[in-house]
Amino acid sequence: MMECRDVRELADSFLSEQLLVETNHELLRHLETCPVCRREMTDRRALRDQLRSAFMHAEDLSPRPEFAAGLRTTLRSSQPGMTRRSVLQSWWTLAAGLALAAGGGLFVRNSTARSRLAATARVAAGDHQNCAVTFTLAERPIGLEDAGRRYGAPYRALATFVPTVVDGTIEMLERHACVYQGQRFGHVVFRYRGALTSLLVTDGVAPPVPELEPIDTGPAIASLPVGRFVGFVVADLDRTRVLHLAQALAEPLSQHLA
């Protein structure tokens, strides 16, 4: 059982959302029973929020309105222009690229994309196992709203996505953003046909249509295109059922995140 002294030592990391999941839970359990530590934590959080607010609203820290406009002009002019020569070079590059593709380049490209997708799928399967099943990630997951602020709107959109299927019911369990082996995922965990199921969305190469990933051991995993992202459905279910689930989710999820 965590004591007040431990809580004070961990307070900074707790406030910065840097604690491991287990430690975080222990600390929260302590806070539920200790009004002194709860007050201390509330005060610290208020202090941080006020600092953020003071910083954001300080007049003397704000840029001159003309600075941003001037900056755009400077940056645009720092871009290398498309001269006649560069345009010609570009056309030659394109022509060479097309010739290469005709000669087998597309095969190489597809093969590379395929191996990247397989690698991401393995990481997604690991995230399902270590986050949804055993809850033993090294880095604490954060809320999708928070992730939306930090990493972009699609994470926030995932917070409101409601997966629907025709062949069963879905019981929502958890939504967050988590990191496994350096890959960040938007992660929705739900129960489908009695199995703990993960829907994971991340940056990466996506297949043109939902397809099963050739992973021999562990749960079945299907990849799906989600706009400019790639999604994975992972569950300890029959492979065909996992593929059907991915097919059912692909279109509505893409539209929701667009």
Partner: protein, 185 residues
């Protein structure tokens, strides 16, 4: 596939990076302390960011990426000017010897807060700003400041304590100095 890459790159860069100019400027302004240097810092940061935009991973934290570049630009400038380097091991030892941390005072104004921040050492200010204002992770802060994660943690710990002490010293509220004093102000 370099055809049409330049206009496309600018369009993506504009959408991803330009919304952060206000925050980036505030950060630069706080660090530099004068408008001319802050504008110069931000401009150099964005030029570098645009040139190396292919290294930015879409979907990751663009603001943290920009702040990291800004910190590196500033750090290189300071290195050229021969500014003093902080002794990290000394900091970590100091982090463990604070005898008393006053309670967080009530009635703090934004002005109190920023003045108190100015009273604490600059390297503590930096870590507090990156963590509490820019919401960067310890790992991102360590990368931006080119210091170990352990140093990030000790600077943050010590910095937050110093900030509370500075706030209490400024007499920001009754919790720090008593209601009578507050009324008498």
């Amino acid at each position: 596939m370099s055809v049409d890459l330049e206009p496309d790159r600018w369009r993506v860069f504009e959408a991803e990076a330009m919304p952060h100019v206000d925050r980036l400027f505030r950060h630069a302004m706080w660090l530099a302390g004068n408008r001319t240097e802050a504008e110069d810092l931000v401009q150099e940061t964005l030029v570098q960011a645009l040139q190396s935009f292919h290294r930015f991973a879409p979907g990751t934290n663009c603001r943290a990426w920009l702040v990291t570049i800004l910190q590196h630009v500033r750090s290189n400038r300071r290195r050229k000017q021969g500014r003093i380097v902080v002794d990290s091991s000394l900091e970590e030892r100091l982090a463990n010897v604070v005898p008393f941390v006053p309670p967080v005072p009530d009635g703090i104004t934004d002005e109190d807060m920023l003045l108190a921040m100015r009273e604490i050492p600059a390297h503590h200010q930096e870590v507090i700003l990156l963590c509490d204002v820019e919401e960067m992770t310890y790992k991102e802060i360590a990368g931006a400041l080119e210091i170990p994660i352990g140093t990030v943690m000790s600077r943050l710990h010590r910095g937050r304590e110093l900030l509370r002490t500075a706030l209490a010293r400024r007499g920001a509220g009754p919790a720090a100095m008593g209601t009578a004093d507050k009324v008498g102000r």
